[in-house]
């Protein structure tokens, strides 16, 4: 993902009015990729409420990119604007170089959407729904094979309305697979799935990405983003507040070293560390941005003192902590 112009939480870019001229796809094959999804100063409002606020980013072809955020952060609105289900109030978007609203039919052969609500006719069976979708896309794939891939082979003749929430999510995924898309928008595709089905869905998303499909995934699950995404963006109140690889996003946050100290030792006995040291109930905790250096100092000191640091743990910063911090930040501002 490359940001075209990201003003940051404190800045504000000049916003242009919507220009409906199709964007030419920026072909960056010389540098190894072409842009599959692009948002430029995307702004969406519901009445007076701004759900998406001046968002700009690009996703190159073949990348699996995750959009994270709390409820109401604007992820779904962003995805809907990107695949053309809703109009941008300001700014513009393109998919494979085309305006998704003006070129709905042309893009429909290349783009698949897994929405938060599946959009099935409740009285059709899973196999009928899948066959209809295949037929509309001119595909010859047998529904049985696709249903097998998402572990729904036994539900082929079950009406969609009788499927559980998790089964509907998997049918949704099967319909996306049926299209064989170049771009997949997956809005919380594993919500409501049991752990085993989630893992299976992850495998299928990975397979799609490996086959060259660009995947824009939104999720609440931080482990999902960590597991799948090459890059992530975290949204908060309609804006992107963090972006990059998981490592880049977590790099500026404190890692944690913890261990039990012998009873006769306290914080003052410890070596000089760059992180913040606290001792409670005989356990020392060091929050540091220099994990390797502080860990080395601590281990060297313990070795020199002949002390065993019982239960020693060194934990790099995680997305959970980044999220928690953003949550606190939002709470304070509110």
């Amino acid at each position: 993902m490359r940001f075209l112009h990201y003003p940051g939480p404190l800045g504000r870019a000049k916003v242009e009015r919507m220009d409906t001229t199709p964007l030419p796809l920026v072909d960056d094959r010389a540098s190894g990729f072409a842009t599959a999804i692009r948002a430029e100063h995307l702004t969406c409002r519901y009445g007076g409420f701004t759900a998406v606020d001046d968002l700009s980013f690009e996703v190159p072809e073949g990348e699996l990119f995750a959009l994270l955020g709390t409820n109401g952060a604007g992820k779904t609105t962003t995805v809907e604007a990107l695949h053309g289900a809703r109009r941008a109030d300001e700014g513009r978007v393109s998919v494979l170089g085309l305006d998704p609203r003006r070129h709905r039919r042309r893009l429909s052969a290349e783009v698949a959407v897994i929405g938060q609500d599946s959009g099935f006719a409740a009285d059709l069976t899973a196999a009928e729904m899948l066959r209809l979708w295949n037929d509309l896309h001119g595909r010859r794939a047998e529904p049985g094979e696709l249903l097998e891939r998402v572990d729904l082979a036994g539900k082929a003749d079950t009406r969609v309305g009788a499927l559980s929430g998790g089964e509907r999510r998997r049918l949704d995924l099967a319909m996306a697979l049926a299209v064989g898309p170049r771009v997949l928008f997956a809005d919380e595709p594993t919500t409501g799935l049991d752990p085993s089905s989630r893992r299976r869905s992850w495998e299928l998303l990975r397979e799609l990405a490996a086959a060259g499909t660009t995947v824009l995934l939104t999720t609440h699950y931080l482990d999902e983003a960590t597991e799948l995404a090459e890059r992530i963006a975290i949204m908060d109140r309609g804006r992107i507040v963090r972006f990059g690889t998981v490592e880049e996003v977590t790099a500026s946050h404190d890692s944690l070293i913890s261990a039990r100290l012998p009873e006769h030792l306290g914080a003052l006995d410890l070596p000089r560390l760059s992180g913040r040291v606290s001792v409670a109930d005989g356990t020392v905790s060091v929050r540091t941005t220099e994990l390797q250096r502080d860990l080395h100092r601590l281990l060297t000191w313990a070795d020199f003192q002949g002390i065993e640091l019982v239960g020693l743990k060194a934990t790099p910063a995680t997305l959970d902590e980044v999220f928690a911090e953003l949550g606190n930040h939002s709470g304070q501002e509110n």
């Binding site: 039919r105 099935f120 006719a121 009285d123 059709l124 509309l136 009406r159």
Partner: protein, 255 residues
């Protein structure tokens, strides 16, 4: 310019046929919509044969016109509004909009099964009417034109009403004004002698198809004014309704 050309979709059968087949299954599997599409219009259509139509117009054409409007108002207008609200509530319409199907194919696919069903019912009811009154349509081709015009008008009104209908349950109330307008338009046209029908009779809902059906069954008295003007007025009203529906109809629930 894209890095590779976009694929072209070539379904084995036209999209509208695929959607119509799916819609037929959905109608057959939903008891409420099935009753609304079959039993209710058929009962009303056949019941009209028992009416003493001397009080209305006294000719079989009036009976046929009333039957056609009843069949279409129940079988197409009310049922299609209900079905559209249901499909939209389930976000099925939103999904269809992400498929390669053209807008016209989606509209046709959703409408054709109901129109075909009402066509069969109309044939049955008209046959019963012909037997009961010992008459036959004087202009069958004109009857078919009236049926088609009326069908398109009903579908247009259904999409228009569905724009203001949040759920299939709500359709029972939102279709009432339209239904009453069809009844009023039909009765106004029927209680006016054919020679006295004016443009006002033709532009009210149901007015033009009623005049056409009556004239087709009984035989038109004046092709130019009675039929020509009726067709033009009916086509204008139908086009206006369809354009308004295209402008106001939403494929997904309002968020």
């Amino acid at each position: 310019m894209t890095s590779t050309a976009l694929r072209t979709v070539r379904p084995a059968r036209p999209s509208w046929m695929l959607l119509a087949a799916a819609e037929t299954r959905l109608i057959l599997r939903n008891r409420t919509i099935l009753l609304s599409a079959t039993l209710v219009p058929l009962v009303f259509g056949l019941a009209i044969i028992q009416f003493d139509l001397q009080a209305v117009a006294g000719v079989p054409g009036a009976m046929a016109a009333m039957q056609l409007m009843s069949l279409q108002a129940f079988g197409i207008y009310m049922t299609a509004t209900m079905a559209l609200a249901a499909r939209r509530q389930q976000l099925f319409l939103k999904r269809l909009r992400t498929s390669p199907a053209r807008t016209a194919s989606i509209v046709s696919g959703l409408s054709v099964p109901l129109v075909a069903l009402v066509m069969v019912q109309t044939a049955l009811v008209f046959a019963a009417t012909g037997a009961a009154t010992d008459t036959a349509p004087a202009q069958p081709a004109l009857l078919a034109v009236g049926f088609l015009l009326s069908s398109v008008m009903m579908v247009g009104f259904a999409f228009l009403t569905a724009a203001f209908t949040s759920s299939p349950e709500a359709a029972q109330f939102t279709t009432l004004p339209g239904f009453m307008a069809f009844v009023a338009g039909t009765m106004w046209a029927l209680t006016t002698p054919p020679a006295e029908l004016g443009i006002a009779h033709m532009i009210v809902p149901g007015g033009a198809p009623t005049a056409l059906t009556r004239a087709a069954w009984d035989g038109p008295s004046d092709w130019t004014t009675e039929i020509g003007l009726t067709l033009i007025a009916g086509a204008i009203v139908t086009t206006a309704v369809c354009m308004l529906a295209a402008r106001l109809f939403r494929w997904q629930p309002r968020g």
